[in-house]
Symmetry: C2
Subunit: 190 residues, 2 copies
Amino acid sequence: MSTQVRRERERAERERAIVAAARDLALAEGWDAVTTRRLAAEIEYSQPVLYSHFRGKDAIMAAVAVEGFAELATALASARASAADPRQAVADVAAAYVAFAEQRPALYDAMFTLAVDLPFASQGVPTDLARGFAELAETVRPAAGDNDLETFTETFWSGLHGLVTLMRSGRLRRAGHEQRLAVLVRRFSH
Amino acid sequence: MSTQVRRERERAERERAIVAAARDLALAEGWDAVTTRRLAAEIEYSQPVLYSHFRGKDAIMAAVAVEGFAELATALASARASAADPRQAVADVAAAYVAFAEQRPALYDAMFTLAVDLPFASQGVPTDLARGFAELAETVRPAAGDNDLETFTETFWSGLHGLVTLMRSGRLRRAGHEQRLAVLVRRFSH
DNA sequence: CAGCAACGCTAGCGGTGCTAGAATTCCGGT
DNA sequence: ACCGGAATTCTAGCACCGCTAGCGTTGCTG
């Protein structure tokens, strides 16, 4: 009886180890370096074990992405909470968003570029993603005016996402980064 | 003497066939379906022939992307030229940009998501990309105000790019598409 | 017409994600 | 204490990927 409990605990721990290994490997060497063989070696089990936890490699990446959503939401909340005033909050939250994406590129990729088939309509995933979205929404609320807040927030979010992705793919001059962010923030501050 | 000319012409034609096959296959079934084996079969040559034209699969995708830059620039120029007034031009060009990305998702991916190592600093590629960028810049010029035009344009572009990519990865409600575009356009119109 | 150079092909390398089926381990009841 | 059976893990392999070495053929050139 208690043995079964222990085995489930060990199993859960191994699952966490898989996600952690995938995350660490992706952050260190990019997602191309994350292969099922390396992952298996990392957790010191054979390949097929991965498939008793996840449907496939995509599902592992999705699990990493879910962790990322939680972290992003926390980072945004922290930035908003410590802002001097609502006006400054937009700039601070925007900076926090961009910093998150720049410091954890692999994580950001898993969340928004790869792993398209996340269970968005299901539970768990939307929770943390919605948390981050809600932070953005509260931040830009004073500037929304007549606009529908959700629509307004999505547009602001798109601006941030565009800056981040175009920047990292080398389509934007690295120099103008601060200025572009300032332009975006200013456009969504009143 | 003229035989050599003919062979070079045939060779150039084959190269065009490779790019065309890659493009068609990507548009029809996505880039995952574009393998060197299928490409070789499509042009009725063996695999190694591809490597006498391109350094590798990435280079083929880059060639497709270059075609895309030219098309996008043309689409934007056309939209701007036929706009009733400068105010309307922003909306029309934005709509044209989004329409381009939606109607040729694989092409857009090659241009902005995949194929990171395009020769940006070289000739040829920047020409058409810069043409598209210049169209965007001229479109938003009246609204730039004190802002540096290049920075302002890049920020607007990021907004469009963010809308397109978040939309297609399912992170945005498909319903609010028009409204979000309207919000962005309005923010970059004065 | 002979010789040679350029060309395109066959075959194969090391890698990928994933899986069937054998082998092992470990638990529970007698 | 031990043995039968179920659960779990591993070995081995499939089909495919991008890419390349080296052979065979073709076709131009002197």
